[in-house]
Subunit: 469 residues, 2 copies
């Protein structure tokens, strides 16, 4: 045997002993996956980061005590832990780390609705859609609605401070988190906030953990604020000659009204949808806006009429409105059809850059220019009311040069957003894919205090190493 | 001269040298107050904490560069800094520290409205009311509305994460802070967030600084989110036999509607108001609810009709409603009259405890019991829709025994709130008055990580020492 073979053998022996200790402390083999074939299912999230490592094991506790046990073990042995919800993340925040463990929360799925307190008490593995459904049974609503709401977990939503379509009016995940149970890096369980709606006692740790992408602790339970069920919406679709015109309409609309949805599709995404199925969209339009109002009763119709007046005054080519929620859903279907339609064109790199709303035209013009220069297609959809865009870089997965050009465009889009005083990520998180670009946005001083806080809470650096910071 | 006289003399000499150095670095005496009589105006906030110290000087920079200069000087000499806005804080968060400096932000008052981005760019000394007025000129609205909005500063609002009456629907200060410029403990200026509405790049430092009560940094500029102007409200006043009945109504109301205001006055506060001026309130009622809807048009009237139906079904004695904003303002005047009316009865200690909404009856019953046992009056008004209450302990400032009993009642109310899984402060902050009670609410583990974060950002502990932690 060569020296390196001996080392590898010893490494395997040590690893096996460590895992055996973990199994024993967790109280059973059913909580730990060591079969390499099964582990493969937990190595990647939707970013499919080719750099994902091979973990020692996947730990699947069934309660917070199990999470704490796993963290104490990891802390004692200085083993990297990648917390994982449903694995639908888009930035590689749940890519496995070589020699670490994946801590999957997919067995912690309890949902309890406290109707009188108007809160949901939820374990992190529960899906967003399941929380919405449980609330709906009581006439209540959990607003945050990432496009992936049917398959993404609440734990992942909290980790990334997920947004969505209705957050233009209703805010993001952070606005709905009233309480969190968190297991810290050394296995200590803490509880922050609770069912009370207002609380300023002490530092805002609750808000710090939201959006920390598993780098500061592992959420084992959340108290989520619910509000009364949404009223049936009125809906508008408007077509514009140019993205600049549509953006001008967005600025004017949000000055006087508060739509519950205000989405934009650019020419490339309109055509991608029409290529798949004719939905009667105007292929020659530069952009489409989709707006909904949910203020209830005749108010929704009146608000949509206001939105229509703005679109007309800006010079929209064509505007359709409806107070019929079913017809409105058909309008919204075009927006929902964008991702699947674009996916047919090749492999995708999904961007998530954002700018102040009036800068949308400059961002979108810049993206068009980046697409042309790199020879890739980049259709774009946007949560326009928030200035948050999803340019979708399409490439040929079997063509290394196409991939290289896509990577280059992906990075250029982030640099463009930063140059417009925008952000590299509005709702998906930094994860591992965007980590190298974070210092360009935040600057060295903010990076330094971010690291100081990370070190204060996770001095051994075992929580999701390589993500974010 | 005795040894201690020599020491005191040397101390004065050293202090004078230090202040001279500060004056020189700031570039002029106009930025530093050393006259003890003038300093007196900056020693206390509204908590009038008798333990407030005598500061070396009050520093009044006129820009962020001056703030950074003062912080670099303080950091170099390890001198305590108490940041101060308008001094209207209620928890002693701006009480001066013996031998430190007060860093007053009252000269940084610029307000700029970016209409297209729907944001206000505001310096910390600007008053909340000034920001509202500047936004109103453009048909825009800055919602957070602490009762003191006419005299409190935006910097103080950010420091305490201030709430108010409309936050039951529109959220608290933190929900409107998109960007902050902050000077750190060592004088380093940083910039967080900006005009973009959605941003999850990196840790949520922005949210951490909001509500940190001057213990982590000094805010020199904020980007605040604005929304379209509020619609004219419809208003309801309902009288109930008991607080329990009123709370039952609050739970039922918030299950189906989203009032823009949902306030409660208990029997003692109703009578305190009527004692001063007859407003036609029912003195025999156990509680009064005040609700407003602002959804616009006929929707507001419909929503208030829904609220009325709930109040009737719960068994309200009497319910008045109006769609006339002027008449509605008369209804609201009773609520606004509560503080001045109660102030006539003696000196006040203003509590700020909160619980989950359904626990309001238990909290208010407990407060009545505490009042009786301690022989003090405690009228209570509440932001009932948020479960946030302001029990107002009335005492005789010239009677030490009355003050002692009031202090005892004040502490007991906090313990009661904690026992109900509530908070010792919903919107005023911990400051120095409630600091001793914070560990009882948060527990040792959360205190430990709070201190770890404080130490990471302010290792010398010069920022607002003695407050919060």
């Amino acid at each position: 045997m060569t020296t390196s073979e001996v080392r590898a053998g010893l490494g395997r022996k040590v690893a096996a002993d460590l895992v055996a200790e973990l199994v024993s402390e967790l109280g059973g083999e059913q909580f730990v996956i060591i079969d390499p074939d099964l582990i493969e299912n937990y190595r990647y999230d939707w970013a499919r980061d080719p750099a994902a490592g091979r973990p020692l094991a996947v730990v699947r506790p069934e309660d917070a005590a199990g999470v704490a046990t796993a963290m104490r073990w990891a802390h004692r042995h200085r083993i990297a832990v990648v917390p994982r919800g449903a694995g639908s993340g888009l930035s590689g925040g749940s890519s496995a780390v070589e020699g670490g463990i994946v801590l999957s929360l997919d067995r912690l799925r309890a949902i309890e609705i406290d109707v009188d307190c108007r809160v949901a008490i939820v374990e992190p593995g529960a899906l967003n859609a399941e929380v919405k459904a449980a609330a709906r049974e009581h006439g209540l609503w959990y607003p945050p609605d990432p496009s992936s709401f049917e398959i993404c977990s609440i734990g992942g939503n909290i980790a990334t401070n997920a947004g969505g379509l209705c957050c233009v009016k209703y805010g993001v995940t952070s606005d709905y988190v009233l309480g969190l149970d968190v297991v810290l890096a050394d296995g200590t369980p803490i509880s922050l906030g609770g069912k009370r709606l207002k609380d300023v006692a002490g530092l805002s740790l609750l808000k710090l953990f939201v959006g920390s992408e598993g780098t500061l602790g592992v959420v084992t339970r959340a108290v989520l604020r619910l509000i009364p069920a949404q009223q049936p919406p009125s809906t508008l679709v408007a077509f514009f000659d140019t993205v600049a015109q549509a953006a001008e309409a967005v600025v004017a609309i949000t000055r006087t009204t508060r739509p519950a949805m205000l989405e934009l599709m650019d020419s490339a995404s309109i055509n991608a949808v029409e290529d798949v199925r004719s939905m009667g969209l105007d292929r020659t339009a530069g952009a489409l806006l989709l707006a909904q109002s949910d203020v209830g009763g005749s108010g929704a119709s009146a608000e949509i009429a206001q939105v229509r007046a703005v679109c007309d005054s800006v010079g929209a080519r064509e505007v359709f409105t409806t107070d019929d929620p079913v017809e409105g859903e058909l309008f919204a279907a075009a927006r929902r059809a964008a991702f699947p339609a674009i996916e047919r064109r090749g492999a995708l790199m999904l961007e998530d850059v954002g700018v102040a709303v009036p800068l949308l035209p400059r961002l979108l013009e810049g993206i068009t220019e980046i697409a042309e220069r790199n020879g890739v297609e980049i259709p774009t959809v946007a949560h326009a009311g928030d200035g948050n865009t999803h340019p979708i870089v399409v490439y040929d997965v079997n063509d290394p040069d196409s991939r290289r050009r896509a990577n280059s465009a992906f990075a250029e889009i982030m640099r463009l957003a930063i140059s417009l005083d925008g952000t590299i990520t509005g709702e998906h998180g930094v994860g591992r894919l965007k980590k190298d670009h974070l210092p360009d946005q935040l600057g060295p001083e903010v990076m330094a205090i971010s690291r100081a806080i990370k070190n204060a809470l996770d001095p051994s650096g075992i929580l999701n190493p390589g993500a974010v910071l």
